[in-house]
């Protein structure tokens, strides 16, 4: 029961409190780039969640059983980025072969994920935080869902921005960043809430 509670706390806090995009600033590029339409936002969010889960499932055992056992901790960075890049490539091939319809939906976002700092950030953070395998998977799920939530909320706001008159210097990226700042402000309201649910 106690450990289950911990898992729920990890999940909720990585979705709401420590949201990867809005409070840790990881994965800002796709957040700003692919959030113009809601279907794109959902596609990218789901693709990132899937890759985060797969990447954690692959990197956690490698860190514990290969890098740590052999004393090669300093190779973490190179190893992880290669694993993520390979995984994304394999996932793309598999989707193309077995589920062309899914590939049509998600495939276009996959190459963008290889160099997405949110994925590398999640895998490294799980190791730094000393999570067990299950905790790592839950935290990756939470981070992915948090990313998805932020993307979907933001795409809604952006479609409103398109209809408004914005002063020339703010047009384009500047107003987008300021809108993101307000969402981030709203998410700050969640801080402290998760721990108190179970208190």
């Amino acid at each position: 029961m106690e450990s289950f509670k911990l898992l729920i706390i990890i999940l909720l806090s990585s979705v709401l409190v420590d949201n990867y995009v809005l409070s840790r600033f990881l994965g800002i590029c796709p957040f700003l780039g692919v959030s113009k339409k809601i279907d794109q936002a959902v596609g990218m969010g789901v693709a990132v969640t899937v890759v985060m889960l797969l990447a954690t499932a692959a990197t956690w055992p490698i860190q514990k059983f290969v890098l740590d056992t052999l004393g090669l901790g300093y190779l973490q960075n190179i190893a992880f980025i290669l694993i993520i890049a390979t995984l994304v490539q394999i996932l793309e091939l598999v989707l193309k072969k077995f589920s062309p319809s899914l590939y049509k939906g998600l495939g276009v976002y996959l190459p963008l994920i290889t160099t997405n700092c949110a994925v590398l950030g999640v895998t490294i953070n799980n190791i730094i935080d000393g999570y067990s395998f299950i905790e790592s998977m839950v935290s990756s799920l939470g981070c992915g869902l948090g990313f998805l939530l932020a993307m979907v909320l933001f795409s809604g706001i952006r479609s409103r921005i398109d209809d408004t008159k914005v002063p020339a210097p703010f047009r384009g990226l500047a107003v987008t960043l300021i809108a993101a700042s307000f969402i981030s402000l709203a998410f700050m309201g969640f801080s402290g809430i998760v721990e108190s649910i179970f208190a």
């Binding site: 590029c29 692919v34 590398l120 730094i128």
Partner: protein
């Protein structure tokens, strides 16, 4: 193609194509590490070291690396240099190592570095690539310093960790928090646009030209972004 003079290559990165404020690359570290000036300068210099080394290395190997395998090759080269820089920082500047934390690792996926490898180093000779690395690195550091100065002076009432007498009484903590970072960045971009009368190529920022992943995706997922006004 005309040879560019070395001075213009160097200045290009600092002013005309400032990676942060004009090309809009490397947004994640820009927002995350600019809460204090110390952290921002450290981040800028660390990224600059990696950028110069990787630019030189990739430029040396530009005729050896096969076209289809170039992105993985670049990533491995960059990750190697990041590991070296990380170990040096950990050994000699432990305080900075604590401040930057995971963002030091994330230099690997900083779009500025991969972007310059793809846009500049694989087409140009070694010396020009090194200069481009220095210019871009300085531009990155300068932009980060500018942003962190605003955030630290208003948010924490200090500069480089030294308290400013008057400001310290009127801290606006909003600026050191996440939303403050996004707001300051947005305002700075608008400011640059207003000062240059829209000559800064903001249009390029969201299209595929400014994106290191463009070669991978062939405009697939973001082709609609091109019409951004």
């Amino acid at each position: 193609m005309k040879e560019k003079s070395s001075v213009s290559v160097l200045l290009n990165g600092i002013l005309k194509e400032n990676p942060v404020l004009v090309l809009i690359l490397g947004t994640c570290p820009t927002l995350a590490t600019t809460t204090t000036v110390k952290g921002a300068v450290g981040m800028g210099l660390a990224a600059m070291c990696v950028l110069i080394c990787s630019n030189v290395f990739i430029s040396l190997l530009r005729k050896r690396i096969p076209e289809s395998m170039r992105i993985p090759c670049y990533i491995v080269i960059i990750a190697g240099f990041v590991t070296i820089v990380k170990m040096i920082v950990q050994a000699y500047l432990p305080e900075l190592y604590e401040t930057l934390g995971v963002y030091l690792d994330l230099i690997t996926v900083n779009c500025i570095i991969l972007g310059r490898a793809e846009m500049f180093a694989n087409k140009n000779p070694v010396v020009a690539s090194a200069l481009d690395g220095i210019g871009m690195g300085l531009g990155f550091t300068l932009a980060l310093t500018m942003m962190s100065t605003i955030r630290e002076v208003f948010g924490a009432g200090s500069f480089f960790g030294i308290e400013i007498p008057f400001m310290a009484n009127y801290k606006i903590e909003f600026f050191t928090k996440a939303p403050g970072g996004l707001l300051v960045y947005g305002l700075l971009i608008a400011f640059i646009y207003a000062v240059t009368h829209g000559k800064a190529p903001l249009k390029k920022s969201f299209s595929c030209e400014g994106c290191p992943n463009a070669a991978n995706c062939q405009g697939g997922s973001c082709s609609e972004k091109g019409d951004e006004n």
